[in-house]
Amino acid sequence: MKIAQEIVDYVSALSRLSLPEGEKAAMQRELEKILQYMDVLEGLDTAGVEPMSHVIPLENIMREDRVMPSQDRGELLAGAPVPDQEAFLTPKSVE
């Protein structure tokens, strides 16, 4: 699989990563090399094979609808990069 620079730009934008111009070409080459290697999977006959997302066949793992105390707000906010007593802060994100 050839990886065009546009694809690297596209997945970078999707991932909220922005590679410096100097690193882009190297990253493109590495991704291409890795994906080319992964193409060995093309040779594997998977017709009719159900994709397996969970290896352990657990089912219906659920909890009761019973309220437990929430965590102390101060503890949740303690690690926020911008300190505030009540909320997490971001640059303007709503109209």
């Binding site: 997302s53 793992i61 609808d65 309220v67 437990m68 929430s70 949740l76 505030d84 909320a87 802060l89």
Partner: protein, 476 residues
């Protein structure tokens, strides 16, 4: 050219569980910012989701009531996108195997029966709330609502008018309230609706380019937004301009829709099965139990009211439209009130009192016991209808004891035949001219005499008793 409007709905409904979908924090509305939160709600590293069994149950109940196919093996997927109201940067939702599919509902509209197909119903988590703080010029994220369970119900593009849309939403609201799976309060955001709308030349089989409208927080807004957006699209097309597929925001104040800033790459959500949540398998026994537990829904209830109690169609529709009202009615009847009387009181006084106070039928302060007693007092002739209405107004908010109130205010009707007879005799003696007028055929004089008797008895006499006593003397 005539144009046809084609509408599909995506409705998000908050489920009425006690706890969130993936953690044990409360779902209570309101609360100080970030006080109904834990590491799961705030997307702390290392926190993991565990499904609330009630969410599955409610989703299946809703699906059954909407005549859906239930997906016996289903699971959750991650929908990945960056936004500060989504602390994990992915929403746990269902794409590949939604819990319910292929449902349908029948609506009765003024234009006749309308069939709406349900494409799917899936479970997902709600996002947090963002409020811009102009003072700091920062947006504040409150994650109390993060993880409140939602079902999203997606219809096929089967609507043609705003009336049909409103009829569907009313049906949906009534059904979900009957099931007890949601309170469907639009003003608190527990029922939210996105409208997908396109227009096409009447008779065309091809769908036009659609827009999605958000921020529709009332039936009125939905109706107006549909009218606005259909007109906007038709005008564009008639001017030979294309409709652009986009998300538009309804502005209540400006009475118009506006294109939202298109989110960069917003379409590529990179859904994949959530590895943290094992799959669900719904056994036949489980489904059978939920089917058995389904309550009587409004159409069945309406049919029963008509059949058993012979109530007029309009009353039946009103009474059954809201579960709380139907329950109130049935309990009043169960306490001995004749169904027709109970219905009249509810259609008149009860709904009037609720609307005067801006209350929902679920917030009714009056109990069925009080209304039933009031009806009984009128029936037995101990209160006249007008007095009873005054008593009703007086006790509605406090649900005070009717008997005590009547006694305290001396409102009981005079049913003592002798007292009535005495008063009648006295009035006839005092007003010979009126007696003569009546006997000479002036019907109006009768009313005057009734009034005089009532006055003597301080308005507490039973009008039929007064009428009877007057007639028996005058008509001799």
């Amino acid at each position: 050219m005539t144009w046809e409007t084609v509408i599909g709905l995506e409705t998000h409904v908050e489920l009425a569980t006690k706890t969130k979908i993936f953690c044990s924090c409360t779902t209570q509305f309101g609360g100080e910012p970030n006080t109904h939160c834990c590491p799961v709600c705030t997307g702390m590293p290392g926190a993991l989701p565990v499904l609330n069994e009630k969410v599955l149950e409610f989703a299946v109940k809703a699906g059954l009531a909407l005549n859906c196919q239930i997906t016996r093996r289903c699971r959750f997927d991650r929908k990945n996108y960056f936004y500060p109201d989504l602390p994990k940067a992915y929403q746990i939702s269902q794409l590949y195997l939604p819990i319910c599919r292929d449902g349908a509902v029948s609506l009765s509209t003024p234009a006749g029966e309308k069939h709406i197909r349900i494409h799917e119903l899936h479970m997902e988590e709600d996002a947090g709330k963002l409020v811009h703080d102009p003072w700091l010029d920062q947006t504040r994220a409150d994650y109390n609502r993060c993880g409140v369970p939602l079902i999203e119900i997606v219809t096929e593009p089967d609507f043609r008018t705003a009336d049909e849309v409103v009829a569907y939403l009313e049906h949906l609201r009534s059904t979900l309230q009957y099931l007890g799976v949601s309170d469907c309060k639009m003003q608190e955001g527990s029922l939210r609706c996105d409208v997908n709308l396109s227009v096409r030349p009447a008779g065309s089989a091809q769908l036009g380019t659609r827009t999605e409208m958000k921020n529709l927080s009332s039936f009125k807004a939905i109706t107006r937004a549909i009218a606005y957006e259909a007109r906007r699209q038709i005008e564009l097309l008639e001017e030979g301009k294309p409709v652009v597929q986009q998300t538009r925001r309804w502005d209540e104040n400006k009475d118009a829709t506006f294109a939202m800033r298109s989110k960069e790459n917003a379409q590529d959500y990179r859904y994949f099965p959530d590895p943290d949540l094992p799959q669900l398998f719904l056994s036949e026994a489980y489904l059978e139990r939920l089917r058995r537990e389904q309550p009587e829904l409004s159409p069945a209830k309406a049919a029963r009211y008509r059949r058993d109690w012979d109530l007029p169609p309009y009353d039946v529709q009103m009474l059954t439209s809201q579960k709380a009202l139907a329950d109130f009615f049935e309990q009043t009847v169960a306490l001995g009130a004749p169904p027709k009387q109970a219905s009249n009181w509810i259609m008149g006084q009860v709904l009037g009192a609720l609307s005067a106070r801006g209350l929902d039928s679920r917030d009714m302060p009056l109990t069925p016991r009080t209304l039933a007693r009031l009806i009984q007092l009128v029936q037995s002739g101990r209160l006249n209808r007008n007095t009873a209405v005054k008593v009703f107004d007086a006790v509605f908010d406090s649900d005070a004891d009717v008997d005590a109130y009547v006694k305290e205010h001396g409102l009981e009707q005079v049913c003592d035949a002798e007292l009535v007879e005495d008063a009648v005799a006295q009035v006839l003696a005092d007003h010979p001219k009126s007696v003569a007028d009546y006997r000479s055929g002036k019907e109006k004089a009768f009313g005057f005499l009734v009034g005089q008797v009532m006055r003597r008895l301080k308005g507490q006499a039973s009008p039929p008793a007064v009428h009877a006593a007057l007639h028996s003397r005058l008509d001799k």
